[in-house]
Assembly symmetry: C2
Homo-oligomer: 334 residues x 2
DNA sequence: ATGAAAGCGCTAACAT
DNA sequence: ATGTTAGCGCTTTCAT
C-alpha cells in the first residue's frame, strides 16, 4: 500500500494525499476527511525511506556512548530517548567502547546513516583536555551535523555541551570533609576523562584553599570494580587516609568494603563520598553519601536546544552547566 | 558527492560504481581499483535512504524495552547492540514504558520505520500468560517482520523466544533453602510478568515436592525499591519468615536492609536469594547470593538466529532456553 | 565486463 | 483547491 494506491482509492492525486499526510492547510476539509478515511482503513503508512530520500532526513538522532550497561550512561540515554521521542525523533544507538579507534569508527558509521544530529554521552569523548588530536574526529563530525556532548566539554563550531559543574561540587565535598576534621583525603578515580579532571581540580583547589598539602600519594587511579578497589586498598598498607572522595559510586563502595575488612568504622573513622548517586549508594552499608550530577536536567536541556538548532532557531545556549547536588547519607558526618 | 559524481570521475557508469560498492564479482580488477580510488579520495558514502528505498531495508533492527535505565535491560541491549553491530545491523531504540497502551504505540511507530526485525526485551511484553488479547499487538507485528523476545515466551508464527529457565533455577534455589533447614520461605516479587510467574511456579513446586504448604501469606508483591521493601517488611509484623526468594536483586537487598534494621543475622537467622546478579549484589552487606540468568547468552543466541532468519536460512531454533546459574555469596548457607 | 534505463515512494515546485 | 511532474540516489534487469 503506497501513496498511489491511496490516491486511486480516494479519487485524488498523490499530491493531495501527501498534503493530507503532512497536514498541509491547502486541502479542503472534505477531501481531507475522505483521504484520511482511506488511509485509516487501508493501514497506509508513508514509506520513511522515500521520504528520507526526498528530505534528506529521517528525523533520527545518533546517540553514542561507550557502554550502555553503565548505569550513568543508561540513565542519560533513557532521558535523551524520552525527550527526543516527545519531538518525534528516533534514536539510533551506538556503543563505541572506550578505545579511540572504535570511537572514531563509530562516529563515521553513524554519520554515514545521515542522522540529523549526534549526541555523545560520557566525558570520555571529551578526552583529557591535553591532546587536541584526540577530539579531532568530533570536530570533523560537527562540520556535517550538530554535535552534542553530555557531560563533556570541547570547544568548536557546531558543538554544544551540557555538563555538571563537577569541579565546584567536588570542591564543596572536599571542603566539607576538611571542615569536619578530615586530614588525609584520598582521591579515587578510574579515568583521566574531562570530568574526572574537573573533579580532581575541585579536590585540589579545596585542599589548597584550606592550606592542606596536595599529595601525590593520595591521588589514586584504579579499576572501577568493587572488589578490586577493596583488595588494592588492603594491599597498600603504606597508605594513610581518613576519608575518600571517589569519582564514581563503585569506587566508593570498594572503599567501604575496605573499611569493613579493616574494621574501620564509617563515618567515625573514615568518611566516604561517591559520585553519580547510583543504585549502589543505597544498596551498600552504611549507605553512601554521593553527588547527584543531574543527568536528567542536562539531557533535557540539550535536547530542547537541539530541536531549536535543527529548526534553525537562534534561541539556545552553546553550553549548559548545572550544579551538582550532594546527597547526604551515612558515610559522612556532615 | 553521489554515485553520479563518482561515476563521472572514474569514467564509468553508475551501474559499475554500484557494483564496486556492493562488491559484485562482475567488475574487472582494474576498473574496481580505479573506482575504489575515486571513492576513497572523494569521501563518498552511499546514500542510505536511496539504498533503503530500493532494497526496502536499511539493515536496522528495532529494540524495544520498557526502561533502559533498568540494569537488566541495559545489559540486554548492550549485548544485542554489540552482536548486531558485528553483522552490520543498526539498532533503533524505543523505551516504551510499562503501560499496555504505550507498548502498543511504540511497536506501531517502530513498524512504521520499516525495521528488518523487532526485539522485545523483558518478560513484561509476554504478559502474564492469561490474557491473550494483551499480546495481540505482538502477533500482529509478527505478520510483518520477525519478532524476537528476550526473556519472554509467547506462541505465534514468526515469533522467536529466548529465555532463562527461571522455573527450574528457582526450584533449585528453593530446594536448597529447604535442604539447609529453612521452614518459611518468603517469595518476593514486583510484577506478574511471564518470568515472575515462572519463578513463582518453581518456588511452589519446590515447596510441594518437599511436602511444605504453599502459603498465600508468604507470596508478596511489592515495589522494586530498596527502602520501600525494607519499610514494608518492617511494617508487616505479622509476617513470619526465615528466608527470602526474590525475583530481583533490588527486592532482595530491601530484605537485607530489613534484616539489618531488625538485627537479624544473615545468613544464620535469615537467608536471602536475589535475581539477576546485578551490581547491587556485591555492593550490599553481606553480599547477595543471586541468580545469573545468562542474558548475554540469550541475546547472542537470538541475534545469531535472527541473522539466519533474515537471510532466509532454515537452520535456527524457534526457542532458546538457557539454564540459570546460582551465584553463591554470603546471604545463604549453601 | 559494462552501460542504459526503469523503478523504489515520496515531496515540492509549478501549473491549472 | 487540486493535479502534473521532476527530482532524490540508489539497485537491478536487460542489452550489448
Amino acid at each position: 500500500m503506497n501513496i498511489y494506491d491511496v490516491a486511486k482509492l480516494a479519487g485524488v492525486s498523490i499530491a493531495t494525499v501527501s498534503r493530507v499526510v503532512n497536514d498541509s492547510p491547502r486541502v479542503s476539509e472534505k477531501t481531507k476527511r475522505r483521504v484520511l478515511a482511506i488511509i485509516e482503513e487501508s493501514d497506509y503508512t508513508p514509506n520513511v525511506f522515500a521520504r528520507g530520500l526526498g528530505l534528506d532526513s529521517m528525523k533520527t538522532i545518533g546517540i553514542m556512548c561507550p557502554d550502555i550497561s553503565d548505569e550513568y550512561m543508561a540513565h542519560a540515554v533513557s532521558h535523551l530517548e524520552h525527550r527526543l521521542r516527545a519531538y518525534e525523533y528516533d534514536c539510533i544507538l551506538y556503543c563505541s567502547g572506550y578505545e579511540q579507534k572504535n570511537k572514531e569508527k563509530s562516529v563515521n558509521l553513524l554519520l554515514a546513516k545521515r542522522i540529523d544530529a549526534l549526541v555523545l554521552v560520557g566525558s570520555i569523548y571529551a578526552g583529557d583536555g591535553d591532546d587536541e588530536s584526540e577530539t579531532e574526529y568530533i570536530r570533523n563530525a560537527a562540520k556535517q551535523i550538530p554535535v552534542f556532548m553530555i557531560n563533556g566539554k570541547i570547544p568548536g563550531d557546531n558543538i554544544y555541551c551540557g555538563y555538571c559543574d563537577d569541579k565546584q561540587v567536588t570542591y564543596e565535598v572536599t571542603t566539607e570533609l576538611i571542615r569536619t576534621g578530615r586530614k588525609r583525603i584520598l582521591f579515587l578515580s578510574d579515568s583521566y576523562s574531562y570530568s574526572a579532571n574537573q573533579k580532581l581540580e575541585g579536590y585540589e583547589e579545596a585542599l589548597r584553599d584550606a592550606a592542606y598539602p596536595v599529595l601525590g600519594d593520595l591521588k589514586l587511579y584504579t579499576k572501577n570494580d568493587i572488589h578490586y578497589v577493596r583488595d588494592m586498598l588492603l594491599a597498600r598498607k603504606d597508605l594513610d587516609f581518613d576519608s575518600v572522595v571517589a569519582t564514581d559510586d563503585g569506587l566508593a563502595v570498594g572503599a567501604l568494603k575496605y573499611a569493613a575488612a579493616r574494621k574501620i568504622t564509617v563515618p567515625q573513622d573514615m568518611c566516604v563520598v561517591g559520585y553519580n548517586d547510583s543504585a549502589l549508594s543505597v544498596s551498600c552499608e552504611p549507605e553512601l553519601t554521593s553527588v547527584d550530577n543531574q543527568v536528567e536536567k542536562i539531557c533535557n536541556n540539550i535536547v530542547d536546544d537541539m530541536i531549536k538548532i535543527l529548526q534553525g532557531s537562534e534561541d539556545f545556549e552553546k553550553e549548559h552547566s548545572v550544579p551538582g547536588k550532594i546527597i547526604k547519607r551515612c558515610t559522612t558526618d556532615f
